[in-house]
């Protein structure tokens, strides 16, 4: 499966072909984020920024292929994982995203945050989707002002004019738009809340997120579905995105995305720190997992 995924990432003229890394390390050797039961952490398509001699980022066009596939368990994926690949780019970059549809229904990619023309909207009324066995090419522009933690998802599968059933079955992923000077983490984790799931699983099948004491860890949290959630991480706290407030729990509902960075175990030490939705019936139904901070 991985070799197929690797092949799906097509090199640009300025970017050497590279495999999608199954875990996320910035500036260090690649590692693997283990899951208790093996559900994989999504591949990461890193920006691998190049700078000029004066420190400016060289903008580039990322050529990325997403293959919409059905897994044996009936779930739907981009490139075989849930979430799909995490795409990291910089303000000024562009993405040419080729969607290959191996499903038997229309499928699309709708993205949040960045610029795109109406024909890259990923919706039915703009006819920007791929038919079964077909392809569709989307173009995204990370214009200045679009830095942030965004996401992409199917927007056509399901009844009604705007499908959301593809999302429910797994067709979603994260998009990071960085800008020069953003603090870079040692690791990035993606947690998507939907129903009583993290990444379409309940405990103990939720991701086991691992870091060493003192590593800078970035949590990207995205929500889909029809239920409201509050994300809580034990033993850590952070500045709310865009405000001066320190929080350790936040509300997030369908279509929203945010992120925070923490120093693993800072002031609290190693341990298995629980992350969970704080909504009572959700946690009772297994909407929890662990952030394992190793000494």
């Amino acid at each position: 499966m991985l070799s197929l995924l690797c092949g799906a990432v097509v090199a640009t003229a300025t970017t050497p072909a590279r495999a999608q890394t199954p875990a996320v390390h910035h500036g260090g050797p690649p590692g693997v984020v283990h899951d208790v039961t093996g559900s994989p952490t999504p591949p990461f398509i890193p920006a691998r920024r190049e700078t000029t001699s004066s420190g400016q980022i060289i903008s580039k066009t990322h050529h990325i292929t997403l293959v919409a596939q059905r897994r044996p368990d009936g779930s739907l994926t981009y490139n075989g994982t849930i979430p799909g690949p995490t795409i990291e780019i910089y303000e000024g970059d562009e993405v040419e995203l080729t969607l290959v549809n191996q499903l038997d229904v229309d499928v699309s990619v709708h993205v949040h945050g960045v610029h795109y023309k109406a024909d890259s909207d990923g919706t039915r009324h703009t006819r920007s989707f791929a038919p079964p066995g077909g392809k569709y090419v989307y173009r995204w522009i990370a214009a200045p002002g679009t830095a942030g933690y965004w996401h992409y998802h199917d927007h056509v599968i399901g009844p009604g004019m705007d499908g959301v059933r593809g999302i429910e079955q797994g067709l979603y992923g994260a998009l990071i738009v960085r800008k020069l000077g953003d603090p870079l983490p040692d690791k990035t984790f993606i947690l998507v809340m939907q129903k009583v799931w993290f990444n379409n699983n309940v405990y103990p099948h939720t991701p086991l997120l691992e870091a060493k004491l003192g590593e800078r860890v970035e949590f990207i949290v995205i929500t889909h579905g029809a239920r409201f959630h509050t994300f809580h991480l034990h033993g850590h706290r952070w500045r709310e995105h865009g405000t001066t407030r320190i929080i350790d729990t936040f509300t997030q509902n369908a279509g929203e995305s945010t992120a925070f960075q923490v120093t693993a175990g800072e002031g609290v030490g190693p341990g298995d720190w629980m992350y969970h939705c704080h909504v009572h019936d959700h946690i009772e139904d297994g909407m929890l997992g662990f952030f394992r901070v190793r000494p």
Copy 2:
């Protein structure tokens, strides 16, 4: 109906009598915001600010009449539209609002954000409501510090001591309190989320919002009811009110109001850009509409 509504807006000494404008233009000729099926955009009662020779705003008292009416389809309205008139004032202004009750039940106006004495609270325990066939006069003061996007609604219709059934049937509207220096939009749209509705309608009866490429457009979003929502607009993004975070989706629940301004089609061009609640079962039930950006 409109002539009745016009009559309901009583001129002040310093403000010439004016018709309620069925669409919202600032600094340009009045226009009309068309709805796919004709449900009207609420009338706009503009601040029409006057300034001194040194640029200071001349505070004024706005005399406004709202007539609580039942429409043939059973819905309840202030002045015949859902939402009721959008009221725009400036910090320093006051509003003397006369509520005329043409219903067969008590009705009130409760306002958010601005100052008012307890006898302008619009609640049952303060007896600040109009009986059937009667009137009630409310006084609001937009004291310094109250600039923002607020709203008003009935607070007495329904079972229990605090009615919310009037809101459900249409008794709500927007209040804008501006302050000197606020960027003024070319157009203002009001979208109220309740149940799976925008402005008490599902698609295709939701408002079709129209603007020309490059116009500065203000979206005021208000929520009522018993369901949670996330507002999403395709192809555009904005700074979250009061923070430095760029978003294109936000959670909003009953009683909350906010707004954002975008440049229509900026960086993305013309098109029919969807707005919708991102909650899965809501969008499946038709909680969506279009922002048509013309070339």
Copy 3:
């Protein structure tokens, strides 16, 4: 009951033994916040800060005992009240909290916001709970950067690995971490939203919050449970925590906590100002109360 509670607060070397005050006054004589039907306002364990001659706060360790008890009505409490005691400390302080379990099930204290080692997590997998008839000692550190409005609650009662039934029955309270220079209120009120309750009661059994015109009043709002809420206070508005936005209504869901300070009746005068959840079915079910501003 109160004498028992008083005994439960053990003095530190630097803090004289003191009774928990049944109402909250800063810098003035103690008062009582009356409830319409007598449900008590939670006791307040004040920081009683001491400063050096140069104005620096002298950090201290607070020794606090919480006794988990079942009340005759079947509800569960820390020290006999719902919410449990409000704990106020300063950045730099530590808390040694002894939990005494008088229940017939395991019980714990999990805290938000501050630092603590894994063995003070209050969870089952860390075995940081008190068995029936037993005790457990937690250590919290209010490290720099943890100032804010936090809360504590049981994390082990109930089915599944992480109990939330103790919270539902009343095992929760507020934690305030102040920092030097924070504006101190004349009074602090705690309102916890859960189901259609404030502090596990519906109107008219919700707290009647009383203040004199012009007093600086702090509202701490916390949410638990499985329903979403929007807190609204009539006649007042405030700057949203951490932002520049002025609001009078906000969304809050399980596990979140925030606070705001208002000047009682500022610009609006005395009156019975309603506070309520703005979600329609919640207010219809009695999720409301009053903030009585006396002349």
